[in-house]
């Protein structure tokens, strides 16, 4: 299972920024565009050994908080 700290760092890395907060979204981070969205999906897939790909709604969430919620509901987050 992922720790919140690792997940936060992974999202920041995917978006090529130093850090993100729970309040961040595609409206607050310039690089959270199509490439950023795809990078997040790819990172999450690697970190969860592919399990995140079974969460269909994960493709259409655009905020850090929403990602945390979905991974938590799927039992992938500590």
């Amino acid at each position: 299972m992922l720790s919140g700290e690792i997940l936060m760092a992974a999202i920041a890395d995917a978006l090529e920024v130093e850090s993100v907060t729970m309040e961040d979204s595609d409206s607050t981070v310039d690089t959270w565009d199509s490439l950023g969205q795809l990078s997040i999906q790819t990172k999450l897939s690697v970190l969860t050994a592919g399990a995140s790909e079974d969460i269909e709604e994960l493709a259409v969430v655009y905020s850090v908080e929403h990602i945390f919620n979905l991974l938590g509901e799927a039992g992938l987050l500590e």
């Binding site: 690089t31 565009d33 795809l38 655009y62």
Partner: protein, 304 residues
């Protein structure tokens, strides 16, 4: 139906602009932009829709009595009458043309294609010419996120009745509540084109998976068995992601790096550029997505 490529053509805006220059002018990271959108050049016209489209049609469109013309456009669709009467005013023999005007963006060619298939299959028309034309540049300045993406273009594909390809299956997916993800705020000239990249990628990715189910619903075949796919050339990252989500066989599906996103003309341009390699013995898939939001996919089977 048969693709009559001898009577098919396209034209891009007369001004060829390096995307690197757009990025330099607007302080945008060119490498990242190229990795994302994939376009090295875009083309813009300084002409109006009427002038740009009319000059193309006068050179390329030959209307025969009893044939149908379907005109697809959104950028100039804000007046009464629609744009078609003004664009076709000086086209020879237009007075007898069964002219249908469709207001649609990136999915416009495939929407018109479905109408054309019905007209040809029923015998109502012996030939249908689909004209797609858009000038999105009037909504875009170099600081817009869409600046390194869109090109102005017009295309013409002529379809005739006969043994070539038959429509085997198609699917339509709409998400109209999300129409603002790709839109022009305020409505017309002087307004700004908005495209929300992350949301468009998310929507197309999820929709492509649903589309695969729709296209397979009534048939027992593998989408990987389709020899050639022609995708709307929205951007490199979206096209590659859609192809993977759809389950298309491994391949290179982004081909418009030197052309730009020409909206409804992108699939016609892809077909025209691939005409010599289109094998009449193989099935082909066409998939468009964009403004609406809408996604349309269809499979054409080669007549044996």
């Amino acid at each position: 139906m048969i693709f009559d490529f001898q009577a098919s053509a396209f034209a891009l805006g007369e001004n060829q602009i390096p995307v690197s220059t757009i990025c330099e002018d607007s302080g945008r990271d060119y490498s990242r932009t190229l990795a994302k959108a994939g376009f090295e050049w875009v083309y813009r016209t300084g002409k109006s829709e009427v002038d740009f489209f009319s000059s193309f049609l006068l050179s390329h469109l030959f209307l025969n009595p009893g044939e149908t013309v379907i005109f697809v456009n959104q950028s100039g669709a804000s007046s009464i009458p629609g744009l078609a009467p003004r664009v076709f005013a000086n086209v020879p023999r237009a007075e007898h043309a069964n002219l249908i005007e469709i207001s649609d963006g990136c999915t416009g060619f495939l929407r018109a294609f479905l109408v054309a298939d019905s007209l040809l299959s029923s015998g109502s028309s012996k030939a249908v010419t689909i004209i797609c034309g858009e000038i999105y540049s009037k909504f875009i300045d170099n600081y817009s996120t869409s600046a390194p993406i869109f090109s102005d273009a017009i295309s013409q594909i002529r379809l005739t009745a006969g043994r070539g390809f038959s429509l085997r299956n198609y699917g339509v997916l709409n998400s109209f509540q999300d129409h603002e993800f790709i839109s022009v705020a305020g409505g017309q000239d002087g307004s700004t084109f908005r495209m929300d990249g992350a949301k468009v990628l998310g929507w197309t990715s999820r929709s492509a998976r649903k589309m695969a189910t729709l296209l397979l619903a009534a048939e027992e075949y593998d989408l990987k068995g389709i020899a050639s796919w022609f995708f709307h050339q929205g951007s490199k990252v979206v096209v590659e992601n859609v192809a993977a989500a759809l389950g298309a066989r491994e391949g290179t599906y982004f081909s418009a790096g030197q052309i730009g996103n020409t909206s409804s003309s992108s699939i016609p341009i892809g077909l025209i550029q691939s005409q010599s390699t289109l094998n009449a013995n193989e099935s082909i898939g066409l998939l468009a997505f964009g403004v609406g939001l809408s996604m349309i996919g269809l499979v054409l089977e080669a007549d044996q």
